[in-house]
Point group: C2
Chain length 395, copies 2
């Protein structure tokens, strides 16, 4: 019999998808270059050339049985070691390959990490504004997601609210820095305070509280901003990474869970993820992608365009009177809408071919998100439309 719970999930059509469909339809009418589509977080720069070269070399030089054969169920050992070495070199950690569990992107990583450290009925805390898919990842484990309200002036952690909500039922916190949708980067001070609070609560409650750190934007930080490595601050940290953004290959679904070597059962986390993976039929990421990415772990695509776009948008938005925290990274910006009903605001923007995402699904009404992973030339062309939209509707 069809599972009614999953079937019911189909009813809530994602607003981002609806917007994206609008953009595609409108593009057919007026040319997609004239639709200022700020809806989707699809990287807009090419993969590093070396990735393509390595892929071709693997196809030309390896025996196909070796290249395309089953990888070990916990991932290819040499790949895990290269990832560990890179993290150790860059962030002063001491991972071994055994602490790394390769996954299909950050989605796979976060979903595995959550299952690993929660049980049915547990609570997981995250922080507004947050990536809407967290609801699904958490709900499907049987745990419950609760959302800590934001400090709206800087999108760092609201510790007063956090302490209130950090009850004995909380098994894990799920953070995302640099943040989708706000672009905020947690400072070293924030992470120190968070760590101290979690240490204190672990003692008080007598059980572990894990920090699941979702970091697909770790490599996209802007001038003058430093993105501290979360796991350096708190032992019970599982870092969840994806190469989607840093290498511009979101379709290839490759990322990992990295268990802090000092966390509870550190040597078992990979193996536990492996058991979870067997049951849900996730399995390893594809072998050729594992092998190719391992050769470019220290590279990134040329992502300068994101900062250029951010500065153009930030300057225009603030000059138009928007309240807006300046992003420290990612390719998102999250200004306050000019009316309380952010859906009405975004609907009105469509008349100017501006596709903006209303903030409701990010757990925080009254704002909107712009994903500026598009050509700078298009960002520039969108600014007069943005100005007209504001002037004709809100002045």
């Amino acid at each position: 019999m069809i599972n009614e719970q999953y079937k019911k999930m189909l009813e809530g059509k994602s607003i981002i998808r609806q917007l994206s469909e609008f953009a595609t339809d409108r593009g057919r009418q007026i040319g997609y270059e004239n639709v200022f589509d700020y809806s989707l977080g699809n990287p807009s720069v090419p993969v590093p050339e070396k990735f393509t070269e390595v892929m071709k070399e693997l196809l030309e030089t390896r025996s196909s049985m070796e290249l395309h054969g089953y990888s070990p169920s916990l991932g290819i050992v040499s790949v895990k070691e290269k990832i560990a070495d890179s993290l150790n070199r860059r962030f002063g950690m001491n991972y071994t390959g055994n602490h790394i569990f390769p996954t299909t992107g950050a989605a796979g990583a976060v979903a595995h990490a959550l299952r690993c450290v929660t049980s049915a009925g547990d609570e997981v805390l995250t922080f507004a504004p947050y990536f809407p898919e967290y609801n699904l990842y958490v709900n499907m484990t049987g745990a419950r997601l609760k959302v800590v309200p934001a400090n709206t002036w800087n999108f760092q952690i609201n510790f007063e609210k956090l302490e209130e909500m950090l009850t004995r039922q909380v098994a894990a916190l799920l953070i995302n820095t640099p943040n989708n949708p706000s672009g905020a980067v947690y400072s070293a001070e924030t992470l120190k305070e968070l760590s101290a609070l979690l240490e204190r609560k672990q003692k008080e409650y007598g059980h572990d509280i894990f920090l699941i750190s979702d970091e697909p934007y770790r490599e996209i930080v802007f001038d003058g901003v430093e993105a501290p490595y979360v796991s350096k601050f708190y032992d019970n940290t599982l870092s969840c990474y994806s190469y989607s953004k840093s290498l511009s290959l979101p379709g290839e679904r490759i990322g990992y869970v990295a268990a802090n070597p000092r966390c509870r059962d550190a040597e078992l986390i990979s193996a536990i993820c492996g058991q979870i993976s067997r049951g849900i039929g996730h399995n390893c990421p594809p072998s050729i992608i594992q092998l190719a990415v391992a050769e470019v772990v220290d590279e990134t695509s040329d992502m300068a365009v994101y900062e250029t776009n951010m500065n153009l948008l930030y300057d225009e938005l603030t000059s138009l009177g928007f309240t807006c925290v300046k992003p420290g990274g990612t390719f998102y910006i999250f200004p306050k809408a000019l009316e309380a009903d952010e859906e009405a605001f975004c609907r009105k923007a469509l008349a100017y071919d501006l596709v903006l995402v209303p903030s409701g699904s990010f757990g925080m009404p009254g704002y909107f998100r712009m994903a500026y992973c598009i050509d700078t030339e298009k960002v520039k062309r969108s600014l007069p439309a943005l100005r007209r939209f504001v002037e004709e509707n809100y002045q």
Copy 2:
């Protein structure tokens, strides 16, 4: 807090893995070419050359943003259409792309199909001998797996036992033809009788009973045997496929769920799988692999070696007095052990560097499995060892 249920799963170390480790260790001592390793189902023939060519062409001709960008969450439309067309052409079905949900191999396919058509507390029936991973796929949905005993003289379905166990609690049957580990192929008669029984029980109970057909060995059938297409016989069928065996690329994790266009909610199955996928962080298979496989959907690797090996082994085993159903396909054979304790039997074989898998984990004690996806030359060299093993221990 670490999830104790998953942690506990680590205790039961897989016997296949232990055997495989023995084979590797022994290989270090005497050379792996002298270990007659029949433990693992890893294809031993190369991928079709065209697959490699298509991969290289994609890397050379497509823009990297297009090639490696996010695929739609339900899979790349053109890929799904090519898969549907191929199935329609070959099996007289009438799938559209919408009925196809690309997954990471058959594991992903079976796990999604199970979640799609069961709810917590439901029963799922499978048939001995069966692939041990079914336990995990079913358990993690909250449903319960029950095993229908085998007809040991031909490994077709034991309908008397099946009807007894097919209670109102059963939401789905999980079959695997051609079968791992027995090599048996369900005949058209078997499938007709199964379909008639399921139709009758659906009416009696007033609810759907889905047939989940796990078919990774569909393309590996031997001379004189026909593998009927299961979904032709019963409307409520979800076919689960993997290209791992037919294209020899198990490491690339690519397969699909194909929903019979006449099954309940046929137009929604893909979308429901998509929701499941979001929650467990499975997502699509990688875009480049989807695109490449779509160009070789009608091809297979040259798999003649499997039949050659099967005949060599079958002849030797029967001449040595083993009771053994002749496989109709796959690269497995499943003879009766020469003593009741199949683990003792397999342990004794190790002294002859014969790595055989005892049948306990396949839900049927007293047998052993040989995976003959190895070089024919090695199969030939193993025969004298097999003879010595039998003569010195059982004659």
